[in-house]
Amino acid sequence: MISMVAMVLIGAGALFFLAGTIGLLRFPDLHCQLHALTKADGLGLTLIGLGAALLAGSVGDIARIALICAFAALSGATCGHLIARHARRGDAEGRDV
Protein backbone atom coordinates (compact mmCIF):
# COMPACT_ATOMS: atom_id res chain seq x y z
CA MET A 1 0.00 0.00 0.00
CA ILE A 2 2.68 2.46 1.05
CA SER A 3 4.77 1.57 -1.96
CA MET A 4 1.73 2.17 -4.19
CA VAL A 5 1.29 5.68 -2.75
CA ALA A 6 5.01 6.28 -3.16
CA MET A 7 4.86 5.21 -6.81
CA VAL A 8 1.92 7.55 -7.44
CA LEU A 9 3.80 10.45 -5.84
CA ILE A 10 6.95 9.74 -7.85
CA GLY A 11 4.91 9.43 -11.03
CA ALA A 12 3.18 12.76 -10.35
CA GLY A 13 6.57 14.35 -9.69
CA ALA A 14 7.86 13.05 -13.02
CA LEU A 15 4.78 14.53 -14.73
CA PHE A 16 5.56 17.95 -13.25
CA PHE A 17 9.15 17.65 -14.49
CA LEU A 18 7.76 16.82 -17.93
CA ALA A 19 5.44 19.84 -17.83
CA GLY A 20 8.30 22.07 -16.68
CA THR A 21 10.45 20.86 -19.56
CA ILE A 22 7.64 21.42 -22.05
CA GLY A 23 7.32 24.94 -20.65
CA LEU A 24 11.07 25.45 -21.01
CA LEU A 25 10.83 24.48 -24.66
CA ARG A 26 7.56 26.21 -25.56
CA PHE A 27 7.50 29.45 -23.57
CA PRO A 28 8.53 32.47 -25.63
CA ASP A 29 11.06 34.27 -23.43
CA LEU A 30 13.52 33.63 -20.65
CA HIS A 31 11.36 35.01 -17.84
CA CYS A 32 8.41 32.77 -18.70
CA GLN A 33 10.77 29.80 -18.95
CA LEU A 34 12.01 30.61 -15.46
CA HIS A 35 8.43 30.37 -14.20
CA ALA A 36 8.22 26.85 -15.58
CA LEU A 37 11.57 25.80 -14.13
CA THR A 38 11.22 27.24 -10.63
CA LYS A 39 7.64 26.23 -9.96
CA ALA A 40 6.93 23.02 -11.86
CA ASP A 41 10.35 21.40 -11.37
CA GLY A 42 10.44 22.46 -7.73
CA LEU A 43 7.14 20.73 -7.02
CA GLY A 44 8.24 17.74 -9.11
CA LEU A 45 11.34 17.28 -6.97
CA THR A 46 9.32 17.69 -3.77
CA LEU A 47 6.82 15.03 -4.87
CA ILE A 48 9.61 12.63 -5.82
CA GLY A 49 11.23 13.36 -2.46
CA LEU A 50 7.96 12.59 -0.65
CA GLY A 51 7.66 9.32 -2.53
CA ALA A 52 11.25 8.39 -1.76
CA ALA A 53 10.72 9.31 1.91
CA LEU A 54 7.81 6.88 2.09
CA LEU A 55 10.08 4.14 0.76
CA ALA A 56 13.03 5.15 2.96
CA GLY A 57 13.99 2.85 5.79
CA SER A 58 15.29 5.13 8.51
CA VAL A 59 14.72 8.54 10.11
CA GLY A 60 18.16 9.57 8.91
CA ASP A 61 17.23 8.90 5.29
CA ILE A 62 14.01 10.89 5.62
CA ALA A 63 15.94 13.78 7.18
CA ARG A 64 18.40 13.69 4.29
CA ILE A 65 15.59 13.76 1.74
CA ALA A 66 13.89 16.63 3.57
CA LEU A 67 17.13 18.61 3.63
CA ILE A 68 17.69 18.02 -0.09
CA CYS A 69 14.14 19.17 -0.94
CA ALA A 70 14.34 22.26 1.29
CA PHE A 71 17.66 23.40 -0.11
CA ALA A 72 16.64 22.60 -3.68
CA ALA A 73 13.50 24.74 -3.27
CA LEU A 74 15.49 27.57 -1.72
CA SER A 75 18.19 27.51 -4.38
CA GLY A 76 15.57 27.17 -7.12
CA ALA A 77 13.84 30.35 -5.97
CA THR A 78 17.16 32.17 -5.49
CA CYS A 79 18.63 31.12 -8.83
CA GLY A 80 15.37 32.03 -10.58
CA HIS A 81 15.53 35.47 -9.01
CA LEU A 82 19.22 35.97 -9.87
CA ILE A 83 18.78 34.90 -13.50
CA ALA A 84 15.67 37.04 -13.93
CA ARG A 85 17.47 39.98 -12.34
CA HIS A 86 20.52 39.58 -14.55
CA ALA A 87 18.43 39.21 -17.71
CA ARG A 88 16.26 42.21 -16.84
CA ARG A 89 19.30 44.40 -16.15
CA GLY A 90 20.88 43.24 -19.42
CA ASP A 91 17.69 44.22 -21.27
CA ALA A 92 17.60 47.60 -19.57
CA GLU A 93 21.20 48.28 -20.52
CA GLY A 94 20.53 47.24 -24.10
CA ARG A 95 17.63 49.72 -24.29
CA ASP A 96 19.69 52.54 -22.80
CA VAL A 97 22.29 52.17 -25.56
Binding site: L15, F16, A19, G20, I22, G23, R26, F27, P28, D29, H31, C32, L34, H35, A36, T38, K39, A40, G42, L43, G44, S58, V59, G60, A63, R64, L67, A73, L74, A77, T78, G80, H81, A84, R85, H86, R88, R89, G90, E93, D96, V97
Partner: protein, 203 residues
Protein backbone atom coordinates in the same frame (compact mmCIF):
# COMPACT_ATOMS: atom_id res chain seq x y z
CA UNK B 1 28.40 39.67 -15.92
CA UNK B 2 29.38 38.29 -19.27
CA UNK B 3 28.95 41.42 -21.37
CA UNK B 4 31.80 41.94 -23.77
CA UNK B 5 33.33 45.40 -23.78
CA UNK B 6 34.66 45.61 -27.30
CA UNK B 7 36.14 49.02 -28.12
CA UNK B 8 32.96 49.91 -29.96
CA UNK B 9 30.96 49.20 -26.85
CA UNK B 10 32.70 51.71 -24.63
CA UNK B 11 29.45 53.44 -23.79
CA UNK B 12 27.86 50.16 -22.81
CA UNK B 13 30.79 49.32 -20.54
CA UNK B 14 30.51 52.67 -18.80
CA UNK B 15 26.85 52.00 -18.11
CA UNK B 16 27.64 48.54 -16.77
CA UNK B 17 30.14 50.03 -14.37
CA UNK B 18 27.78 52.68 -13.07
CA UNK B 19 25.09 50.06 -12.57
CA UNK B 20 27.54 48.01 -10.56
CA UNK B 21 28.59 51.00 -8.49
CA UNK B 22 25.01 51.94 -7.77
CA UNK B 23 24.28 48.37 -6.83
CA UNK B 24 27.26 48.12 -4.53
CA UNK B 25 26.33 51.21 -2.52
CA UNK B 26 23.40 49.92 -0.42
CA UNK B 27 25.07 46.66 0.67
CA UNK B 28 26.17 46.79 4.30
CA UNK B 29 29.87 47.43 4.87
CA UNK B 30 32.02 44.39 5.70
CA UNK B 31 34.41 45.52 8.36
CA UNK B 32 35.92 44.39 11.64
CA UNK B 33 33.42 43.53 14.29
CA UNK B 34 33.08 46.11 17.00
CA UNK B 35 33.70 44.92 20.51
CA UNK B 36 30.30 45.95 21.79
CA UNK B 37 28.53 44.13 18.98
CA UNK B 38 30.64 41.00 19.31
CA UNK B 39 28.84 39.60 22.34
CA UNK B 40 25.51 40.23 20.67
CA UNK B 41 26.67 38.46 17.53
CA UNK B 42 27.97 35.48 19.47
CA UNK B 43 24.61 35.22 21.18
CA UNK B 44 22.99 35.34 17.75
CA UNK B 45 25.06 32.31 16.77
CA UNK B 46 23.50 30.02 19.39
CA UNK B 47 20.33 29.19 17.51
CA UNK B 48 21.87 28.61 14.04
CA UNK B 49 24.68 26.51 15.50
CA UNK B 50 22.20 24.43 17.48
CA UNK B 51 20.22 23.87 14.30
CA UNK B 52 23.36 22.87 12.39
CA UNK B 53 24.31 20.50 15.22
CA UNK B 54 20.88 18.90 14.85
CA UNK B 55 21.46 18.50 11.10
CA UNK B 56 24.85 16.93 11.76
CA UNK B 57 23.34 14.47 14.27
CA UNK B 58 20.59 13.50 11.82
CA UNK B 59 23.09 12.98 9.00
CA UNK B 60 25.36 10.80 11.15
CA UNK B 61 22.51 8.87 12.79
CA UNK B 62 23.30 10.32 16.26
CA UNK B 63 26.65 8.57 16.43
CA UNK B 64 28.91 10.00 19.11
CA UNK B 65 32.22 9.18 17.43
CA UNK B 66 31.18 11.34 14.48
CA UNK B 67 31.62 14.45 16.66
CA UNK B 68 35.39 14.17 16.08
CA UNK B 69 34.53 15.69 12.70
CA UNK B 70 31.29 17.35 13.77
CA UNK B 71 32.98 19.89 16.05
CA UNK B 72 35.38 21.17 13.34
CA UNK B 73 32.41 21.30 10.95
CA UNK B 74 30.43 23.43 13.40
CA UNK B 75 33.50 25.64 13.91
CA UNK B 76 33.75 26.24 10.15
CA UNK B 77 30.03 26.99 9.94
CA UNK B 78 30.18 29.39 12.88
CA UNK B 79 33.18 31.12 11.33
CA UNK B 80 31.26 31.55 8.08
CA UNK B 81 28.29 32.99 9.95
CA UNK B 82 30.56 35.47 11.74
CA UNK B 83 32.31 36.45 8.50
CA UNK B 84 29.07 37.31 6.72
CA UNK B 85 27.43 40.68 7.11
CA UNK B 86 24.95 40.21 9.92
CA UNK B 87 21.36 41.32 9.49
CA UNK B 88 18.95 42.32 12.20
CA UNK B 89 17.68 39.40 14.29
CA UNK B 90 14.00 38.58 14.12
CA UNK B 91 11.78 36.74 16.52
CA UNK B 92 9.38 34.41 14.74
CA UNK B 93 5.79 34.14 15.95
CA UNK B 94 5.08 30.39 16.07
CA UNK B 95 1.38 30.23 15.16
CA UNK B 96 1.51 32.58 12.15
CA UNK B 97 4.64 30.77 10.96
CA UNK B 98 2.83 27.44 11.00
CA UNK B 99 -0.23 28.95 9.30
CA UNK B 100 2.01 30.55 6.69
CA UNK B 101 3.80 27.25 6.01
CA UNK B 102 0.50 25.44 5.39
CA UNK B 103 -0.94 28.25 3.26
CA UNK B 104 2.31 28.53 1.34
CA UNK B 105 2.45 24.79 0.60
CA UNK B 106 -1.02 25.00 -0.97
CA UNK B 107 -0.08 28.12 -2.94
CA UNK B 108 3.16 26.53 -4.22
CA UNK B 109 1.22 23.50 -5.49
CA UNK B 110 -1.32 25.84 -7.11
CA UNK B 111 1.52 27.78 -8.73
CA UNK B 112 3.12 24.65 -10.14
CA UNK B 113 -0.20 23.30 -11.44
CA UNK B 114 -0.98 26.69 -12.99
CA UNK B 115 2.30 26.92 -14.89
CA UNK B 116 2.17 23.24 -15.88
CA UNK B 117 -1.32 23.67 -17.36
CA UNK B 118 -0.21 26.79 -19.23
CA UNK B 119 2.77 24.89 -20.62
CA UNK B 120 0.76 21.97 -21.98
CA UNK B 121 -2.32 23.95 -23.10
CA UNK B 122 -2.42 24.02 -26.91
CA UNK B 123 -3.06 27.79 -27.08
CA UNK B 124 -0.53 28.57 -24.31
CA UNK B 125 -2.37 31.39 -22.50
CA UNK B 126 0.43 33.83 -21.69
CA UNK B 127 0.35 37.62 -21.33
CA UNK B 128 3.77 38.20 -19.74
CA UNK B 129 4.79 41.52 -18.29
CA UNK B 130 6.61 43.24 -15.44
CA UNK B 131 5.01 44.91 -12.43
CA UNK B 132 6.48 46.97 -9.67
CA UNK B 133 5.39 46.57 -6.07
CA UNK B 134 6.35 48.84 -3.22
CA UNK B 135 6.60 46.70 -0.14
CA UNK B 136 5.88 48.01 3.33
CA UNK B 137 7.84 45.20 4.98
CA UNK B 138 10.98 46.18 6.88
CA UNK B 139 14.40 45.53 5.42
CA UNK B 140 16.19 42.21 5.85
CA UNK B 141 14.69 38.77 6.33
CA UNK B 142 11.01 39.77 5.77
CA UNK B 143 11.74 41.22 2.34
CA UNK B 144 13.89 38.23 1.38
CA UNK B 145 11.12 35.84 2.40
CA UNK B 146 8.67 37.97 0.40
CA UNK B 147 10.79 37.87 -2.77
CA UNK B 148 11.42 34.12 -2.54
CA UNK B 149 7.77 33.37 -1.76
CA UNK B 150 6.61 35.48 -4.71
CA UNK B 151 8.68 33.27 -7.02
CA UNK B 152 6.77 30.16 -5.95
CA UNK B 153 3.30 31.75 -5.97
CA UNK B 154 1.02 31.22 -9.02
CA UNK B 155 2.08 33.27 -12.01
CA UNK B 156 4.65 35.53 -10.34
CA UNK B 157 8.46 35.61 -10.30
CA UNK B 158 10.59 38.12 -8.43
CA UNK B 159 13.07 39.80 -10.76
CA UNK B 160 14.57 42.57 -8.64
CA UNK B 161 14.59 43.69 -5.03
CA UNK B 162 16.04 47.15 -4.55
CA UNK B 163 15.17 48.86 -1.31
CA UNK B 164 11.39 48.93 -1.03
CA UNK B 165 10.83 48.22 -4.70
CA UNK B 166 10.13 44.64 -5.77
CA UNK B 167 9.95 44.05 -9.52
CA UNK B 168 7.82 41.05 -10.41
CA UNK B 169 7.48 39.21 -13.69
CA UNK B 170 3.93 37.93 -14.18
CA UNK B 171 2.70 35.28 -16.59
CA UNK B 172 -0.71 36.90 -17.04
CA UNK B 173 -0.67 40.68 -16.82
CA UNK B 174 -4.48 40.74 -17.00
CA UNK B 175 -4.93 39.14 -13.60
CA UNK B 176 -5.19 41.14 -10.40
CA UNK B 177 -2.01 40.35 -8.52
CA UNK B 178 -2.31 43.19 -6.03
CA UNK B 179 -4.68 41.34 -3.75
CA UNK B 180 -2.53 38.20 -3.67
CA UNK B 181 0.60 40.25 -3.01
CA UNK B 182 -1.07 42.24 -0.24
CA UNK B 183 -2.28 39.01 1.34
CA UNK B 184 1.19 37.49 1.17
CA UNK B 185 2.71 40.64 2.64
CA UNK B 186 0.41 40.74 5.65
CA UNK B 187 1.01 37.04 6.31
CA UNK B 188 4.78 37.60 6.27
CA UNK B 189 4.38 40.64 8.51
CA UNK B 190 2.52 38.43 11.00
CA UNK B 191 5.39 35.92 11.05
CA UNK B 192 7.96 38.54 11.95
CA UNK B 193 5.53 40.46 14.16
CA UNK B 194 6.42 43.47 12.04
CA UNK B 195 4.07 46.45 11.90
CA UNK B 196 2.74 47.08 8.43
CA UNK B 197 2.01 50.76 7.83
CA UNK B 198 -0.39 51.79 5.10
CA UNK B 199 1.03 50.54 1.85
CA UNK B 200 0.63 52.01 -1.56
CA UNK B 201 1.09 50.40 -4.95
CA UNK B 202 3.64 51.88 -7.30
CA UNK B 203 2.87 52.28 -10.96
Amino acid sequence: MTTSPRPADAARTAITTTTQLRAIQPSPPVGPVERAGLRDRLRGLILPVALLALIWSLLTDWRLDAWVFGLPALAIAAGLLLAMPHPRRWRLAPVPTLLFALWFAVQAVRGAVDVALRAVAPRMPLRPGFRSWRTALPEGAPRIVLANAVTLLPGTLSAELEGQRLVIHVLDAGLDHDRALGDLESRIAAIFAAPLPGREVAA
